[in-house]
């Protein structure tokens, strides 16, 4: 027997993924793997399927009527599409940050405390400690520590996105999915989120969809280029930026189309 050495541990693997929205074939035979505790960026023109692919991983596509997914998956050691898949467990292990900040219309504290108290029954001072801890990890604590009981909707857009990040971390996931998390933010807020992503990749596997090539370059170590529902190319970010294998990728990265 030949032992196949696998130096890289993958937190996300997907083989031959096809996604249909009704009759629309949105993902075509995608093979994808994201290494653990690294940032994998997914880029490509609008409608290329990168967000759709992300939403396959925590089965948020279930919420779209007519969506059908086929393929083999392994996400955080689980098969999301197994017959007896525990979706709540899957989504506890796989957090998601959305394009637009979507804090709940309740206090800053409750935004973070809700999920851990429901999932793990955490209460009282433990809960308070956890809220503080996650807010610190999201670099938001100093800005909100005196207003924990104020509504989250009073925060700025950038603060709201970091709150959503903290809210996600409070569930203690392994994988963080980010769907263009900075597209609604100004450059300074974007910078803060990017710093956080780099910091978080020490402990988490991060998959980020972005339209911003510079951002992909700055934050990621792996790069996946999607086009018309296909995964055209995937590899080390530097390598792909330096010398992409496919001509389409080179054209896209050089800004010839977008």
């Amino acid at each position: 027997m030949v032992a196949v050495a696998s130096p890289v541990k993958h937190a996300v693997r997907a083989e031959d993924v096809n996604l249909y929205y009704g009759t629309k074939h949105a993902l075509k035979g995608v093979n994808f793997a994201a290494p653990s505790r690294q940032v994998t960026a997914m880029i490509g023109p609008s409608g290329c399927g990168k967000s759709s692919f992300l939403r396959c991983l925590n089965r948020m596509n279930d919420r779209i009527p007519g969506a059908k997914v086929t393929g083999k998956f392994e996400v955080a050691g689980m098969d999301p599409y197994a017959k007896n898949a525990d979706l709540m467990r899957l989504r506890r292990a796989v957090g998601m940050l959305f394009q637009k900040p979507n804090p709940f219309p309740s206090s800053v504290f409750e935004n973070i405390a809700l999920a851990p108290s429901l999932h793990y029954g955490i209460k009282g001072s433990t809960l308070e400690g956890m809220v503080e801890e996650t807010l610190k990890r999201a670099a938001l604590w100093d800005e909100v520590k005196d207003h924990l009981r104020r509504s989250a909707l009073e925060l700025s857009g950038g603060q709201q996105q970091r709150l959503c990040l903290a809210r996600m971390l409070a569930v203690e996931p392994e994988i963080l999915l980010m769907d263009e998390p900075c597209s609604a933010l100004d450059p300074i807020s974007t910078g803060k989120i990017e710093d956080l992503i780099s910091e978080l990749s020490k402990d988490y596997t991060v998959l980020i969809v972005t339209h911003n090539l510079q951002q992909a370059h700055r934050v990621s170590s792996q790069l996946a280029f999607f086009m018309l529902g296909e995964l055209v190319e995937m590899g080390d970010t530097e390598a792909v930026f330096e010398s992409a294998q496919s001509e389409v990728t080179r054209d896209y990265l050089s800004g010839r189309f977008g």
Binding site: G95, F98, F104
Partner: protein, 303 residues
């Protein structure tokens, strides 16, 4: 420009058009403003009349004492008490059914033929004249279920009248919660029910509360549903709260007003106006409560 070519109007024509457009807009705004003031004036006239005529009759004494001397003197406590009783029970019955019905329609029913039929039926029910509910209550609760003309039959009838409306307002309030918020909750691994109960419903609470309270206070002011199911013209009885109370008919403000006016001459006009104002204040007070709760909920949520 090239697209329009020679058909492009010249500057003078364009200016003339602008002037006409602005004049047209001003005219419409004028109409809207006038209509607005008319509505305000009518409302003020209504409230003003009732206030002017009713206020002299109202006193703590009037609200808390029993009618005396064949209703030519004394107060209207039994009627006010009856209205409160009717409303509390209606609220208690409407709250769970209206809420759960609304949740089901908004979150579980989907958009299939069955759901659409159901939604249309509920909308029809919500628009059904209240006297129909009165007759239904008489046939089913009073006669078939042998509850008799009673507080209980009144509760059921008024709840039947209120539930469809509350189901619809609750559904609307839940649907108005942005989908992104629901997505956020689901993505955190909350179950469907946790998402609805812990995130959606609190977000929709101001709207849900408004629908509930407006509907129940409207029900409390309705005479037709209780006309044949629960109401008696007047009462001078002391109230002993117990199971017996449920089986007895109740005097209440709207029916007292209707009957008191119909039997013209028995009750002095001043007392009728006083009763009128009391009913108005009763509804207003409850709405005020609702506004306070709603404002708090909204402030807490921040929207």
């Amino acid at each position: 420009m090239a697209v329009l070519g020679s058909s492009r109007p010249n500057q003078a024509e364009l200016h003339g058009r602008d002037v006409r457009r602005l004049r047209h807009g001003k005219f419409l705004i004028g109409v809207a403003t006038t209509v607005h003031y008319l509505v305000v004036a009518m409302t003020l006239a209504l409230i003003g009349t009732i206030l002017v005529k009713g206020l002299p009759a109202i006193s703590w004494e009037f609200l808390t004492s029993y009618p005396a001397e064949g209703m030519t003197q004394g107060g209207i406590w039994p009627m006010l008490r009856g209205s409160i009783l009717l409303m509390v029970g209606t609220l208690a019955l409407t709250l769970p059914f209206g809420l759960l019905g609304g949740i089901w329609l908004a979150e579980y029913a989907g958009d299939g033929r069955m759901a659409r039929t159901l939604r249309a039926s509920i909308a029809t029910l919500a628009g059904t004249p209240s006297i129909i509910f009165g007759l239904f209550g008489l046939a089913i609760f009073v006669l078939k279920l042998k509850l008799g003309t009673s507080l209980l039959a009144g509760w059921f009838t008024l709840a039947l009248f209120s539930i469809p409306i509350v189901v619809l307002t609750t559904e609307q309030a839940l649907r108005a919660v942005p989908e992104s918020i629901e997505d956020g909750a689901i993505a955190l691994g909350l179950s469907r029910w946790q998402t609805i109960w812990k995130v959606m419903l609190p977000s929709a609470l101001p709207g849900v509360m408004t629908g509930l309270v407006l509907t129940v206070t409207r029900a409390a002011g309705e005479a037709p549903p209780i006309l044949m199911t629960a109401a008696i013209y007047y009462s001078t009885e002391k109230l002993s709260l117990g199971w017996e109370t449920l089986k007895k008919p109740v005097a209440n403000l709207p029916y007292h007003l209707a009957e008191g006016y119909r039997q013209g001459g028995v009750i002095p006009e001043k007392i009728i106006w006083g009763t009128c104002l009391t009913l108005m204040l009763f509804v207003l007070t409850i709405n005020l409560f609702a506004i306070v709760i709603r404002t708090r909920a909204r402030k807490k949520a921040g929207w």
